[in-house]
Symmetry: D2
Subunit: 347 residues, 4 copies
């Protein structure tokens, strides 16, 4: 009855979160977990928090080990999924948590990533708009899905409703994100060391360099922006997970406060996982830790003519693995919320 | 079909964790949430991470508001449950997360807590030994249960197998615990401020003053110790949740390494929530964050003749709310593991 | 030879930092430390990190206890210094670390603080411009100095050079700050608890509500902006100290990259405590922990036509107590850098 | 006038702390900074917090670059200093912050470190006892000094007074330490990543495996213990710096409480950097952050017959670099406290 599942890159942080969520999902059965340097190891040794999957052993990541499953989740470094996926039959649902299939623009791919370009897949943020509808529609029945970049989907969820409804200007957007270091993966580099991050706030990719920028622009273009521009600055702060995104936009002159608020309210009124908080309330990342929820607080600053949105997302959950599973639910015709929690682990 | 549930003290940290776990439990339906100063507030305003319970409103904590439920969980300050509980019918399952009903010794209660003594209830750590068996047996069919102190149950789980099997001496035990500040609750005191705790390790209750000491001794006495003595020192460290307990005991001279290890191995071999890790492996608190799991690593230090156990527990989950629900499952004849996860949220 | 000093509010975080810095200053001798609820206590009990001042005892904060010193530093809640200061002779140097004397606009005071207005004093950020010169000039010989708000001075240092030199537009500025909770003082409120802040990023005063906004506008007006507007959002992150300010402004069309960079380069070239980092480098708050240094990194994002500045400051040091002592050095004719370190405590 | 100084391993954490302290020292002038893989880089790029040394450039670590200085501080990986030092003239003061010259027992060296053994130097913890006196005496005029292991010196300072005075038994000691990850250096290993450490408490080297154990035993033997044994467990907690050591020992039967306390009181009464706190008070690591201070709190637990000491030390300051400079002061005939602060950076 359940769908058989393979997870590639199961020894990493995104792979671990996929497995944590899959273990709680009633319709997915994890049969195969793969890794590269950790192949041969017991999964529990690489992911000691996943007690319920203690019986699994990591095998090498190859087209062969991934074959024969109903669903394959890929949590691999950028550039690794293209060739791997080519060997999988078209009826297999493949959900890629890497960047390889997110961008429709080959030029943007070349400018921010480089290497072979394999084309875009259905984009795994169901709540975002596309011309004439929602990403959700494109995901129904899809067999190739690109899970979003965690920062990119957070910013897009924060700003898309205002663009779609025409209440904010799509140029000169500004977003500054406080992010946890798990987004960088298990990468053994000096800036990722605990002693570098504890007690400190550390910016990176300042000045329009971050690879998620074209992905944000793509989502905002789908929302109706002709040529969206955004200043995007991420700051690493000492929490293992979480994104707190402060994103602002100029309000189109003459728009009433009620219309501004209504844009977000109506966009997410029926969404199970994205919520606009009541006026005067703003989210904390703790509120969504481990959850598939994006919480948005919104303020209007008349003195500057801007709407300020503050959005909290767990980068590994709703930002990556949760989005992947939510999208897989849709693709397979399962209830969209199946196996996903809206409740955070706090404090 | 489901059991109707009330949670008293629902605006605090322990109350919030009870609700988070209850929300994921298929046989419990939370009907009533109570608080004191927050009564009248929407639950979601006090516990913004509990999206799935956003429809609930906090009412005052009284015998009346708690009446008429199948199960009542109390997450109240010490001393508050005695009078409240007196008004509840004996067939209602009452699980108290406070200290009021943990100690069988009125003298110990008077020495460490003081105030009216209301007697001991079934102790909510099923895996611990009692003379001739396990606490689990006492919990079957119980209608009054005392959930454990988080530090106390952690230390007891760490040391009881060695005492029960006679491989360690029950005197001169030493335990030092790294603990997160959520165990102190939402108490507005200077030592609980973030600026006092961030970047620092802060001891408290040094020198045998901690209130969990008699509770530990009681558990170790149940395990067979005539007069257990333990040096117990908690240290607050900058993580919101978690207990990492380093507990050591002298090995009874002449005991083989295999026999030492076998004591813990056999005690927990069939337990779903308490695990002895393989030789050379030790747990981290991240591995059990949000989970109902206690992980134990064990080493034998021949140079000093001691066994060293390192045990990781989430103080709010397996340490409090998870233990409460696990015990309620047993009391009500439900599968013991129902609604409880063994997987931590890491990293 | 040394100047005799009294510190009011010596039991708080700002008071403690003043004392830490004063203890290392060769020309200041702390004679009197005052507090309110802690009066009568030994200083070392309230500030156990200040071993070298262990001989001092806290006395009540009154005009009498503060009288008879060459220099009086006030680290009191807003509104407390006005009446106190009235009783001190005009030749006493009074440096107020509260907000009472920062704003020249009584209307701004009324709008953001309220209560009696006592007028503005010389503003304690020597590096900032004023019409025709620098704040430094106004501080020479001053006997009443208002130390800056930590967030306000950070934002002003980040943006003033661009405004002064005309390379950025002074409207539609955007600043988002990651800040440590020590800025909130020893205030016993729920949002300041460690369990609320650990592992989380928490916004506050979103939407133009923060009290430092008029202070920022005042500094930018001094730099030459007719009517500066700024969207300002602070985010509490889990580090005890530090401000990492990401502040952006639109570049005046037609300005060359070199001219943009030169604005900041020339403004701070001779400053001992404010530094523009080389191109491509950005500061972390760890780099300035405990130091009187502000480090600024600057990037130009052509895609959005904005300059992005990232500025790191220790809120208690350069942001408050260091600024106070630096300003006192100037006022008293001492070397400006005396007793102040440019080196941070990292990692 | 000042002594010329070279620091080898200047790009690491211990090297950085040496430089931070040396920069504030009136009699040391840093002329040369060396590194291995970072050679050729500006020091400020490797240590961006050391603004006052921005003019220095890292050169390769060789006997040649280290030659010609009055004092050479070595902050190198274990095993690297032996050959390097052989080339330095005997009149040069060499202070090694590595382990190479700490152990007098070649057998202990072989058992815990291995590789070539180069013999022991004067041990850089002046406050510790040696037969008939103090380490301080051995440091006077010394030209070869081994700075201590941070954990080892902390435990030794905590327990030596009780052993020296005969009030505690030197066997079956137990020490559990909460330690920050900077002690592991800039080592690019998975357990050192921020995502592994944030929000978690992680034990390591459990069961008598830690390399500092023989160093502790050596110090306790110097204090008079014939055959000291200690169970030693370090736990990494999420603070960048700091050691909080809980060390316990059985009190010799018949000893009065006053005699126990007097042992520590008299040992440290005249020490500038090691302090016994008043009864009922215990230190936090924040209290000593950046300081050359060790603070000790002491409790007697009659129920278990043990003294419990809690000692706070900054692992990089008093634990390593501060001890090195304090010892160098003594060796060179400078005032012992010169350039060293007793005040911590808190909060």
């Amino acid at each position: 009855m359940a769908f058989s599942v393979a997870v590639a890159g199961a020894s990493g942080y995104a792979g671990g979160e996929l497995l944590r969520l899959l273990a709680a999902h009633p319709e997915f059965e994890v049969r195969t977990v793969t890794a590269h340097s950790n192949a041969g190891q017991r999964l529990i040794d690489a992911q000691p928090h996943l007690r319920s999957l203690a019986g699994l052993t990591l095998v090498d990541t190859t087209a062969e080990t991934l074959a024969g499953h109903d669903v394959v989740f890929l949590a691999l470094p950028h550039g690794a999924s293209g060739a791997l996926t080519a060997g999988l039959p078209p009826e297999t649902l493949v959900v890629d948590c890497g960047a390889d299939h997110r961008l429709e623009s080959e030029a943007a791919w070349a400018a921010f990533y480089g290497g072979d370009y394999y084309g875009a897949w259905a984009y795994g943020v169901p709540e975002l708009p596309v011309p004439g509808g929602q990403q959700r529609t494109r995901l129904v029945g899809a067999r190739r899905i690109a899970a979003p970049g965690c920062n990119a989907s957070t910013v897009a969820l924060a700003l898309a409703p205002g663009i779609r409804s025409g209440v904010i200007e799509p140029e000169d957007l500004v977003a500054v994100l406080a992010v946890g270091p798990s987004g960088a993966g298990k990468s053994l580099r000096l800036p990722n060391l605990a002693a570098e991050i504890l007690g400190s706030a550390n910016p990176y990719a300042v000045g329009g360099l971050h690879r998620h920028i074209p992905e944000i622009q793509q989502s905002l273009a789908w929302a109706g922006a002709a040529n969206p521009t955004i200043s995007f600055t991420p700051v690493i702060v000492p929490m293992s997970r979480g994104i707190l995104c402060t994103a602002t936009a100029r309000i189109v002159p003459g728009t009433s406060d009620a219309d501004v608020r209504a844009a977000w309210q109506s966009a997410y009124a029926d969404e199970p996982f994205v919520h606009l908080l009541p006026e005067g309330r703003f989210p904390r990342t703790n509120d969504v830790l481990g959850a598939n929820t994006a919480l948005i607080g919104l303020a209007i600053d008349h003195a500057v003519g801007r709407v300020i949105t503050v959005t909290a997302v767990d980068n590994l959950a709703k930002g990556t693995a949760g989005a992947a599973i939510q999208s897989a639910n849709i693709a397979l015709g399962l209830p969209e919320t199946l196996g996903l929690s809206t409740n955070g682990v706090a404090p």
